[in-house]
């Protein structure tokens, strides 16, 4: 009896063990080959009897697979690293303690890093003593946002004789916040670009300067001819006069633009200026053209706003912009001007730490507007929009005077910049026409200033 019970117990125990074994094998198969259902049904029986080796072989297969994957990942990583190493722009990466982990060839050349060896971790400041770069990295880490900065980098030089030969370069850096406090920085050498730009501007203004003198003498000659010629030839000379005048104004505009760009502050004389009446007088001077095309001016905004600005310059800006609006408006339409005072802190300039309000002027017409491809370039010198923008002015018949020089908006932008403001060009969603938005700081809230200027 006892023996029987023992055997029964043994049988149950062995059976249970076998069942468990099967289960484990099944589970292992499922884990190792989740996709191949055919083998998973076949394998358990085979596995059940000689467990260690057959189980090991899928494991081995799995391990080799992972190894292969690892290897291909390593190769990919190596390719990316090589790409970054030989990239034409500099890249460097620092860890949370500002130690330089890696930098590519271009970065080493740009920052004159000579002592760095891959794998040897050093503080970035030990290798490059650039306060600006360090600050950029700190800011990036604090804000957890990418930052851009541009500064003049002077490589430090330990040899007094060689100091004259070392040239400082303008670098632009854009940083990237990476996980675990790492920061990556891309570096661009902007020096050559700036040099080219400067050379271009200089050549441009020299040319304009040289053209001015002969043009003045040509004009004098034409003026003398005008009085002395009889009617049939007279017409040709009049035409010549118009073209010469146009050329002279073009040259003058060029020179003015250069002056504004190189020396913005000297050219301005700030006085309290009332915007509403200024707008009115601008419109009055344009009224003859506006009336010819039955255009109306709609003004939305406060009755009087005083700003501290150069009145004649702002007049020039408004004249230019309104002239454009009139040129491109269809007959019988309206030109809308919306003036607002912005009080938010965002627009405050650096030198004025108080939350001074700024003035926003919107000039909206209902013409064809700008095409999207033109929008980024319209403030550039001599940029012309496509023909859709220029055609209506030719229709008006006075081609010589109404086609702009292509410098108007460039001058407008320079004047606004010199005032510490900004200008944006868009298309208005409602009218579909051009929408120019000016923002000028220096709104005068002090009522006394009104008396002062009167």
């Amino acid at each position: 009896m006892l023996l029987l019970a023992f055997l029964l117990g043994l049988a149950v125990g062995v059976g249970f063990c076998f069942w468990l074994w099967l289960e484990v094998n099944n589970y292992l198969n499922q884990v190792l080959n989740p996709s191949t259902s055919v083998t998973s049904t076949k394998l358990p029986l085979k596995l059940a009897f000689n467990l260690p080796f057959p189980v090991a072989s899928p494991w081995l297969a799995e391990i080799t697979l992972i190894k292969q994957q690892n290897q291909s990942q390593q190769e990919k990583l190596q390719i990316y690293q090589d790409l970054l190493e030989y990239a034409p722009i500099g890249y460097l990466q620092v860890d949370e303690e500002n130690q330089l982990l890696w930098c590519n060839q271009a970065a080493r050349e740009m920052l004159y890093i000579q002592r760095w060896e891959p794998g040897k971790v050093r503080l970035l400041l030990e290798l490059v003593r650039s306060y600006e770069l360090d600050q950029l990295i700190e800011q990036t880490r604090q804000c957890q946002k990418s930052q851009t900065g541009e500064w003049v980098f002077h490589p430090s030089c330990e040899n007094a004789a060689a100091m004259l030969e070392i040239k400082s370069v303008v670098l632009r850096a854009s940083s990237l916040s990476l996980p675990q406090g790492l920061v990556g920085v891309f570096l661009e050498n902007r020096q050559s670009l700036l040099d080219v730009n400067q050379a271009r501007d200089r050549a441009f203004s020299d040319l304009a300067h040289e053209l001015r003198t002969p043009l003045t003498s040509i004009r004098l000659v034409v003026e003398t001819l005008q009085d002395r010629l009889d009617p049939p030839l007279n017409r040709l000379v009049n035409r010549l006069m118009q073209e010469v005048d146009r050329l002279i104004s073009l040259v003058e505009n060029c020179l003015e633009l250069t002056r504004l760009q190189t020396n913005p502050n000297i050219q301005l004389s700030f006085h309290p200026t009332e915007v509403r009446s200024l707008l009115k007088s601008v419109w009055e001077s344009l009224e003859p053209i506006a009336q010819g095309r039955q255009l109306n001016l709609v003004y939305l905004g406060p009755e009087s706003i005083w700003i501290d600005a150069d009145q004649s310059r702002i007049y020039q800006v408004l004249l230019n912009l309104l002239d454009n609006s009139i040129k491109y408006s269809p007959t019988g339409a309206e030109v809308r001007i919306e003036v607002k005072i912005l009080t938010h802190v965002k627009t405050v300039t650096n030198n004025n730490s108080k939350a001074a309000p700024s003035l926003e002027i919107n000039i909206i017409d209902s013409g064809v507007g700008f095409t999207n491809s033109d929008l980024p370039y319209i403030f550039e010198r001599f940029y012309r929009g496509d023909m859709a923008r220029t055609r209506p002015s030719i229709e008006s018949g006075k081609s010589a005077t109404t086609i702009g020089s292509g410098l108007g908006l460039a001058i407008v932008q320079q004047i606004i910049k010199a005032h510490g403001g900004s200008i944006k060009a868009m298309n208005h969603p409602d009218t579909g026409g051009a929408w120019l938005q000016l923002e000028l700081p220096q709104v005068l809230t002090n009522p006394q200033s009104q008396e002062y200027s009167k």
């Binding site: 030990e126 306060y131 360090d134 430090s156």
Partner: protein, 223 residues
Amino acid sequence: MKAVFYHQNPEKPQLARDIRRLEQDILRMGALVEKSFRLCHQGLFARNLTAIEEIPFLEKKIDRFYRQIESDCTLIMTAQLLTAQDLRCLSAFMQLVRDLERVGDYAQELADIAVKLFPYPAHPSIAEIAIMSHQAQAMLATSLGALANFDEVGGRGLQYLDDAVDSAYHRLYQTLASQRDIQGVVEPILLLGLAIRYLERMADHATNIGNRVAYIVTGQHPQ
């Protein structure tokens, strides 16, 4: 190169990190002092007065770093139990930032001289003074490089560079002092005399920094 000398303290990673942060701040301050020196050089020798405008702001930042580094050093000294080497390092740091701060002060003095000197025509010996200023700047760069690398040899080598600046100072002093029959006021010569004096002091401070680096590494004051 003994860049990782303080890693000899593996049982105190916090202290190593603190010292590393301190070193970083000193190098930041050094970068500012170098920049300030460079700008005052431009003001003095290229008559670029816009370059000078930034110097007072730099000076303020340098002062802030100086005070902060000093108080950080004291804090570490009082809060932790230090080995002789760590203590030597911290005390040398405290002395060294004092030297750096002095160099920054002299840069500002030179900027003031540049403004006062601006209306006068250039003096014949200005080119020689510019070379002296370059030598002093190179010495500052060398001393900061020695600090960054804990390079004892570079730190001690500054003494020989200082000799060149000293001899330039004496030569220039003789030239300026022995001028006769001066047309107009004597102010430009006076200002140049001060300028070479300041440059000579700046070079001395750079030498001091180099000596302190050598002291950190070896524990001995160079002769």
